[in-house]
């Protein structure tokens, strides 16, 4: 379980990093916390000629308040996100999802950008980004761009990122008013990739009607998904008029490529997914009502 030889690069700036990627092309891969890539290299399931380590790139660090959104550098570790009061205040769903990622040793090294770019179908951060309509920012020698999360995740471990691009940060919009947020997932053990999970963000008006609602699903498709039909059905209804288990059923009803694996068939995952949506919905609603 030792990786094949590769050349190691450790750029100090974003410019240096994107220049390297432009030069090396498909033979290079970026690495941040290495929590997914290193095991794949060690088991020789993946091989690279060049590894570009982003940990010294200063532009990927930091948290910036942009008013209507909070920008978080891609290099921010999951452990740092968990500790940040600013993040908890602005994007509580991100904070709440963090303890579900692996174990603390993993979170000490794993990064926001790494999780989003790896785009695991059961990834908590991809689900949160999608649920909150975050914008994912990328740079290359060709320039910078912001990709809406809805356009970013496109299949099994596949994203809109080009091979020469570096994911630099994610901008999470703030939600205001009487809002509530919850994440629920079911895994065989704490820290395992979820069999199924759901993220819910909801905003109520003063009459307890649903003004906005976002439901994210993970582990239930090749990539994280939004339950658009369930969201649409909820907007305008009086909170509590719709039964939580119905919200769950509706949310999973449109899924057509639910994976089957060692942990259970698609039918089972779908059932668990519906339950996670229902449980997250109840929690988020409770918080919004109290808000």
């Amino acid at each position: 379980m030792k990786p094949a030889a590769f050349d190691y690069h450790r750029p100090d700036s974003l410019e240096e990093a994107v220049t390297l990627l432009a030069e090396l092309g498909d033979d290079a891969k970026v690495i941040a916390g290495g929590q997914s890539l290193m095991p794949m290299l060690a088991m020789r399931l993946a091989a690279v000629d060049h590894l570009v380590d982003l940990r010294r790139v200063g532009e990927l660090q930091g948290v910036v308040d942009r008013g209507d959104a909070l920008w978080i550098g891609a290099g921010t570790t999951q452990a740092a996100i968990q500790r940040s009061a600013d993040i908890d205040a602005a994007v509580p769903l991100l904070t709440r999802s963090t303890p579900l990622i692996g174990h603390f040793q993993i979170r000490n090294r794993g990064t926001l950008g790494g999780s989003v770019a790896h785009a695991d179908a059961a990834g908590e951060y991809p689900a949160v980004a999608l649920t909150l309509d975050a914008e994912i920012e990328a740079s290359s020698v060709r320039g910078r761009r912001a990709i809406p999360a809805g356009d970013f995740f496109s299949g099994w471990w596949t994203t809109a990122l080009e091979p020469d691009e570096v994911l630099t940060g994610v901008a999470f919009p703030r939600w205001h008013g009487r809002s509530g947020f919850a994440i629920e997932e079911f895994a065989r053990r704490h820290g395992d990739y979820a069999i199924a999970g759901a993220t819910v963000a909801v905003e109520l008006d003063d009459d307890d009607r649903v003004r906005r609602c976002s439901i994210g699903l993970f582990g239930l498709a090749p990539q994280v998904e939004r339950a658009a039909a369930a969201e649409a059905a909820l907007v305008g209804t009086v909170a509590g008029d719709v039964r939580a288990d119905e919200v769950g059923e509706t949310a999973v009803s449109g899924l057509d490529s639910v994976p089957s694996d060692l942990h259970g068939p698609a039918e089972y995952r779908t059932r668990v997914g519906a339950a996670m949506v229902a449980r997250a919905w109840e929690k988020a609603l409770q918080e919004a009502r109290n808000g």
Binding site: K2, P39, R188, R189, H190, G264, Y268
Partner: protein, 778 residues
């Protein structure tokens, strides 16, 4: 023993802890030898195939590669590869060093690369070209007996062996006329020892004296030495095995396996030490699996729920290359099936079947299927008869005052306390109050349940290689004590045990005693860790050896003090006049006489203070028993099982160290919980292992396991100090306790659980099935 035991029975802090808990343990991979080379195996990617050619030229051409060995190079060097535990006369199953002609499971070692480091060795392994002609594999042992394909040509029907008890026909009448008969076929999945330290060794051959030194991760250093000596045809005195810390064995490291043999053979052919450290994928796919088995179990009861007869037809997966010897260990499953109950009549068959998968190795309580099948079936029976499972057991469990008693298969139980541990564990739980809590929970739509499991276990075999154990004790000139025993501690605190017992035997402070274990050059021959033998056997060896030394210490002191030996005692590191502690000699003063002032020795007392002794076990086995009680909650939507409480009441006799006993119980119990809920070695239909990393092979971690509560019933056994074995029981008792707790939680749905592991998806499937059959709304 005259002095009162000061340490035996006390919660003495482990002497191993300081180094292990601060990261200063020394495992095989920590050992570095001059010019050391690194080995890596080329393994079969096919479950079964004929090897039609191997081209090693590209691998050999790679910079840094010293050698690439195939069966042609290594296998002719094998002389007599038998094991001391089995002996040369018992017919053993095939076990070549490297695969010869045919590969028989995915992971079968085909070639061995030796290179300057592991990276280069793995690069080179990728360059070894092996041509295979694929053959139809026998993946599922359950259908292997009917397969035309044979794992080993010499074994028709893929049957490695069958053993049986009394003919089943003789019990037909009992079953036919019984008021209640219950029968289930119960399946246990393959799961594994999974030591945190994988297998590994360094073998260094010295051409200058023909000596072989091996640093091993093993439970049995002396067996590694004997095996190497016989297998390679080296004299025993040319082979030295050194083990320091071994990070878990659980049976997997009880015997050297094929890879160990290959590395030993390779060491003869390269000019430096060869290190092989197994990686986790290799460990999970090639180091051996346990448990994989099923059986049809039957119990007959009279109208009052009294057991009349027990029958078991058991079949186990031996894999391709089992460690010896699966047929012998399988018979124990049948013989112990009646368990700690009053059972008038019994019958069994036990069959071992080859398959093209990972070979069967010993795993903590290798016969534990008997407890799984019996205890699960008892709960099924209780539900069928409308009796609480606790009450059913109360009517049938053996009481201490009924002993000794021989079970219907000839197992002679003595010195156990089945009903006593059962009641003790239920008292810790407060069973009545749990039933009230359960009723309230059910009314609120929550499903909680309780399960119990009781077993009786043979420990401390008195036979053959395991039947004796030696110790050497040397009191140094300064008065400090060194105790040498063979060792083989793989986390089971044998150092603490040896130090405690020696300190008591010589009446010295524990800080004055050191133990040296694991180096065959300086330790007495011994059987190592296995069969829950170490506590009792080390106690016997230390007592035997210390007795002679005590006599000498007292004789020297008596002579010097002009006192009668009978008036002296050994206490506080001194030989002193009983009742007059001031009048006495310290061990240092006695040692000074024994080593440097020998004219002051009494007549007939030899100089020096070193003695060796060997203990012979006094009985063929020492029986131990326990009851496990588990409570859990089941989420009927997701199928998730959360264990609420876990209680073990164990009778391992008087405890040398309760901390060590509880550590052993905890470790085994957690492995059993893993087997019930999480761990599963899965093959696809082509025979590819699909759970060969920790992403897929799920071990229980601290978040899945509750705090374990312990109860101790202490019935002295027939050995020294009354001590019994305690190493394996946790892993035996736990799986059925968890199964029964889940089944009890789901009793309102009429669910019967007969398949492990109970994954959330499988629990949901059972609930859905019950819903379909009975119209129960889940």
């Amino acid at each position: 023993m005259t002095a009162a035991a000061r340490y035996a029975g006390a919660r003495v802090q482990r002497v191993e802890d300081a180094r292990l808990l601060t990261g200063h343990g020394s495992f095989v991979d920590d050992v570095v030898r001059p010019g050391m080379l690194h080995a890596h195996f080329v393994r079969s990617p096919l479950a079964r195939g004929r090897i039609t050619g191997i081209d090693v030229s590209a691998a050999l051409a790679l910079d840094g590669v010293h050698a690439v060995f195939t069966a042609e190079d290594l296998n002719p060097g094998v002389r007599e590869p038998w094991y001391s535990l089995v002996g040369p006369k018992v017919p053993d199953t095939p076990r070549p060093a490297l695969a010869e002609g045919e590969v028989r499971f995915v992971g079968d070692p085909v070639a061995l690369v030796v290179a300057v480091d592991r990276y280069v060795a793995e690069d080179a392994a990728a360059l070894v070209v092996v041509d295979y002609e694929p053959l139809e594999p026998v993946v599922d042992y359950k259908t292997a007996t009917g397969s035309e394909e044979l794992v080993h040509a010499a074994y028709p029907g893929n049957v490695a062996g069958t053993m049986s008890g009394r003919p089943a026909e003789q019990l037909a009448e009992v079953f036919a006329s019984a008021a209640h008969v219950v029968e289930e076929t119960i399946h246990q999945q393959a799961y594994q020892a999974v030591p945190m330290e994988t297998r590994g060794l360094i073998a260094e051959y010295s051409a200058h004296d023909g000596g072989m030194t091996i640093w091993a991760s093993t439970q049995v250093p002396h067996e590694v030495r004997l095996f190497c000596s016989r297998a390679l045809g080296l004299s025993e005195h040319r082979v030295r095995v050194i083990m320091r810390d071994t990070g878990g064995g659980f049976g997997q490291k009880a015997l050297p396996q094929r890879e160990d043999l290959c590395v030993m053979l390779a060491a003869l052919k390269v000019p430096a030490a060869v290190k092989w450290i197994e990686d986790r994928q290799e460990n999970l796919s090639s180091a051996g699996q346990g448990r994989h088995e099923h059986g049809t179990a039957r119990l007959a009861f009279d109208a009052d729920g009294t057991i009349l007869a027990a029958a078991l037809d058991h079949v186990q997966d031996a894999g391709a290359y089992p460690v010896p010897w699966p047929v012998m260990t399988a018979v124990v499953v049948g013989m112990l099936f009646p368990g700690p109950y009053r059972v008038p009549a019994a019958t069994f068959t036990c069959t071992s079947v080859f398959s093209n998968t990972n070979g069967r190795t010993a795993y903590r309580g290798p016969w534990q299927y008997e407890t799984l099948a019996r205890e699960v079936l008892l709960d099924v029976a209780a539900r069928g008869m409308g009796i609480d499972a606790v009450e059913l057991r109360r009517r049938n469990l053996l009481r201490h005052d009924e002993l000794p008693v021989t079970n219907p298969n000839g197992m002679p139980y003595s010195d156990i306390s089945p009903l006593e541990t059962f009641e003790h564990a239920l008292e810790i739980l407060d069973h009545e109050s749990f039933r009230r809590e359960q009723a309230a929970a059910r009314a609120a739509g929550r499903y909680i349940g309780v399960g119990t499991s009781s077993y009786v276990e043979p420990t401390t075999s008195g036979r053959g290689f395991h039947g004796t154990e030696g110790a050497t004790i040397r009191i140094e000139p300064s008065g400090v004590v060194n105790v040498y025993v063979s060792g083989g501690s793989s986390g089971n605190s044998l150092e603490t045990t040896a130090v405690q017992l020696t300190a008591d035997a010589l009446g010295v402070d524990i800080g004055q005693v050191n133990t040296i274990q694991g180096d065959t050059a300086v330790t007495p021959f011994g059987g190592g860790t296995g069969g829950s033998r170490s506590g009792s056997m080390i106690a016997g060896a230390v007592a035997e050896t210390a007795a002679g030394l005590r006599e000498r210490l007292l004789a020297i002191a008596a002579h010097r003090l002009e006192a009668a030996v009978e008036d002296l005692e050994l206490a506080d590191g001194r030989a002193q006049v009983r009742g007059t502690p001031g009048a006495g000699l310290s061990l240092a003063e006695i040692a000074d006489i024994a080593y440097f002032d020998t004219r002051k020795l009494p007549p007939g007392v030899p100089p020096g203070l070193e003695a060796s002794g060997r203990y012979q076990a006094q009985s063929p086995t020492i029986w131990a028993n326990a009851t496990h009680v588990c409570t859990c909650e089941v989420d009927v939507v997701t199928g998730a099982v959360t264990i609420l409480r876990y209680i073990v009441s164990e009778d391992c006799g008087p405890m040398i160290n309760p901390n060590v006993v509880e550590g052993q119980i905890a470790g085994g119990t957690v492995q059993g919980i893993g087997g019930a809920l999480l761990e599963n070695s899965v093959y696809d239909e082509d025979g590819n292992p699909i759970t060969s990393t920790f992403v897929d092979y799920l071990l229980p971690t601290s978040t899945e396991v509750p705090v374990i509560e312990y109860g101790h019933v202490e019935t002295p056994g027939p050995g020294p100090g009354g001590y019994k074995g305690v190493g394996e029981g946790g892993a035996i008792g736990a799986p059925p306790a968890v199964v029964n707790a889940v089944a009890d939680a789901l009793a309102p749905f009429g669910v019967t659980i007969t398949r492990l592991p109970m994954t959330p998806a499988s629990i949901v499937a059972l609930l859905q099935e019950a819903e379909a059959n009975q119209g129960v709304r889940v």
